[in-house]
Symmetry: C2
Subunit: 420 residues, 2 copies
């Protein structure tokens, strides 16, 4: 009796699915397809020269260290850099509050691993980040979702849900949310941290795009508002460096500002939580590549990131504007979309009678691609929605892609009318 | 009520422990300590020049690709390279049988994630690799252990255990096992694959050191013997490339032959298993760093590894010999140790009355360090054992370190005698 592999898998694999987006990449990487499907930064903006110089320097001067095993917590100078960077946003972390992860996807996995027992409830936005859903699902939680509107997560509905019972944690993307591009208003943020603190429910604040704001004022992250709230209510106690042992685990990444191929993200959390995440990471991969950490540090340590992010903002804002304008021009009546103040994505809602998963097939024939929205719902809603990325394609390609997509939607609507 | 983090953790965290070894690193990184505790390759042998050239070339010629997102399965040319490399050992894999992981530690984690439900049985050696135990423990299995002797895992006792019930899988390190340095004999390997096939129990073959053989003949890996057994019993079917859908998941790494700081390992498994592992990896970290994969491929693609591994073998063999000779000279009577034919470690058993965890404190005072053996037992045995690494220190340091360690053991034995 040779191994029957199909009968060997753990129960948790039943919920595991390949990401639609990563599957789509296989189609959309055909060069003639204009893809709005990925979440890819513009490769022409990668700081290649800086990485080349950094890698020469690191391998010449500290090569033996760069190629050797390192600590699970991360390369100490990079952790110090994160502390300083966080400080600019009023997040008062010490180095012991920082863990470097193999991309922020790993932070999501470690958080699932450390907090979720089967059947635990995760409260999240509908739609939410598909990678978060994928990471958590491996730990077999149940999901409760709360819809979003133009001001982000409907915190009034969170309050309703909390009356019914407490989730293990609330997962939220406050800035230019993936997939919808919406931003949680300051008023709602303030209400959310008060709720979390009243109920003792942790908030997982996923903030990969916070630095990519193209208009409007910076809104303080939940972790800062939580600390302010705790100072008022004196429920929290500061550690030596003034970082509160509050209700929030904050996470971000270098993927959107520096380069995703490095796989470098980070978590800022109370020290005890970091300790647990470190234990989980030891079992998961020992530590993040020493070389990529040292390279990233070498590139960013002299302040390179500030100017680079300004450049990214300029380019991505233009692409967003081109996409919004093209949509006005080419999308038929009845189609709605969000107008993000930053980030990489916007969210399109087509009339009810269109299923975007079916629409995608026709779109790919017309050499344009997007992600059907249902992938972003923990409960399979959103059949008539889609996510569009505006960072990866050049402006003239965006115009052409939106023209094609508009045509596909229009054709589909006419067909639906003819049937009705 | 601020979040009470201590009450939020999942049940699985109760079994999670920090690796003793990684904790020890903090002590043993003091420069005056001669450490046999780590599993660190010799940094003076890292191919720095090759990596410097490779990184210039990659960033100049393919920089945008190297810094961009990549596929979860791994960088295709590197997977092709693994296929070819495996072929040299008669492992007939196709590219669809290969998954690149963030170090082989990640392969262990993904295998645990995909196969283990709480309460499932894992059968492994006593002692076994601490990182394997750490990875699996997060998925809450029960352990059944089988002792080792100079010919590796006691397969006769595996047979006894299988009569009582089938484990979810058998985890085994056949070559120069970490921690004990012993090698599973061909006869036992052949018996083990027959048993696995009769019972339909998967074998997880962890082979990080197979290429580092310093004497004796190569013994075919389990995955090859399993295929041969299947051809005879015709229970297995070959895929197009001739890779059998057999009972073995094979895994290895570049950490010992190229550089651990890259974090690059790989799994060779039936295609369906790779598919599940890929799903799990998507949720865990999306994909392994594109840059490190492209760098490693650039360094190895022209055959560099062959000569480099020959050089490593020469240096490590000498260090092993120096350590063995020094032990003959400095260790008191009643102390036994293994004589590994390869790898990085040997295993010392001191008289029953010594607890090596206590001994370590005295050793660190004398500026020498090792890993107490109990860390490598899933069930806490082995109080009078220790693991010594012979790859990291220079020969004269090995001599001096063993001299110090012999003195510490001797002192302890005298104290024990005085008390008795």
């Amino acid at each position: 009796m040779t191994t029957r592999w199909g009968e060997c898998y753990a129960q948790r694999t039943e919920g595991m699915r390949s990401s639609v987006i990563r599957e789509l990449l296989k189609f959309t990487q055909q060069p003639e397809v204009i893809s709005f499907a990925g979440g890819l930064p513009a490769p022409e903006l990668f700081p290649l020269k800086e990485f080349e110089e950094a890698s020469c320097k690191i391998l010449q001067e500290k090569g033996a260290q760069a190629l050797q095993y390192g600590t699970t917590e991360g390369y100490p100078p990079l952790r110090e850099f994160i502390v300083e960077k966080m400080g600019r946003y009023d997040i008062k972390a010490s180095v012991d509050n920082v863990l470097i992860t193999h991309g922020s996807q790993q932070a999501l996995d470690l958080i699932g691993k450390v907090f979720l027992d089967p059947g635990d409830i995760v409260l999240l936005e509908a739609p939410s980040y598909v990678g978060g859903i994928q990471a958590f699902t491996a730990y077999q939680p149940r999901y409760i979702t709360v819809p979003i509107d133009d001001e982000g997560m409907r915190v009034d509905l969170v309050e309703e849900e909390l009356k019914k019972g407490y989730p293990k944690f609330i997962y939220v993307l406050p800035n230019f949310q993936n997939p919808a591009g919406v931003t949680l208003s300051q008023e709602r943020r303030e209400r959310l941290v008060v709720l979390a603190n009243e109920c003792g429910v942790p908030l997982i604040e996923d903030d990969p795009y916070g630095e990519l704001r193209y208009e409007g004022d910076h809104i303080p992250p939940l972790v800062v508002l939580d600390e302010r709230n705790l100072s008022k209510t004196s429920g929290g106690k500061a550690n030596a460096e003034g970082f509160f042992e509050g209700n929030v685990i904050y996470m971000s990444t270098f993927s959107k500002t520096l380069a995703p191929g490095l796989r470098l993200g980070w978590v800022v959390a109370p020290e005890g939580v970091v300790g647990r995440l470190v234990q989980a990471k030891q079992g998961a991969d020992l530590h993040t590549s020493t070389l990529t950490q040292m390279l990233a540090y070498e590139v960013v340590r002299t302040g390179f990131l500030d100017g680079h992010v300004r450049e990214l903002r300029k380019v991505y804002r233009e692409r967003r504007d081109v996409m919004l304008k093209a949509m006005e021009e080419h999308f038929p009546e009845g189609v709605r979309w969000t107008r993000p103040q930053g980030g990489l994505f916007l969210w399109v809602t087509v009339p009810e009678e269109i299923d975007t998963a079916e629409l995608l097939e026709e779109a790919v024939e017309e050499k344009v691609a997007f992600v059907p929205g249902s992938a972003f719902f923990a409960d399979g809603q959103g059949h008539n929605t889609m996510r569009l990325n505006f960072s990866n394609a050049q402006p003239e390609m965006i115009q052409e892609g939106i023209r094609r997509l508009g045509k596909v939607i229009e054709k589909r609507l006419e067909k639906a009318k003819a049937v009705a």
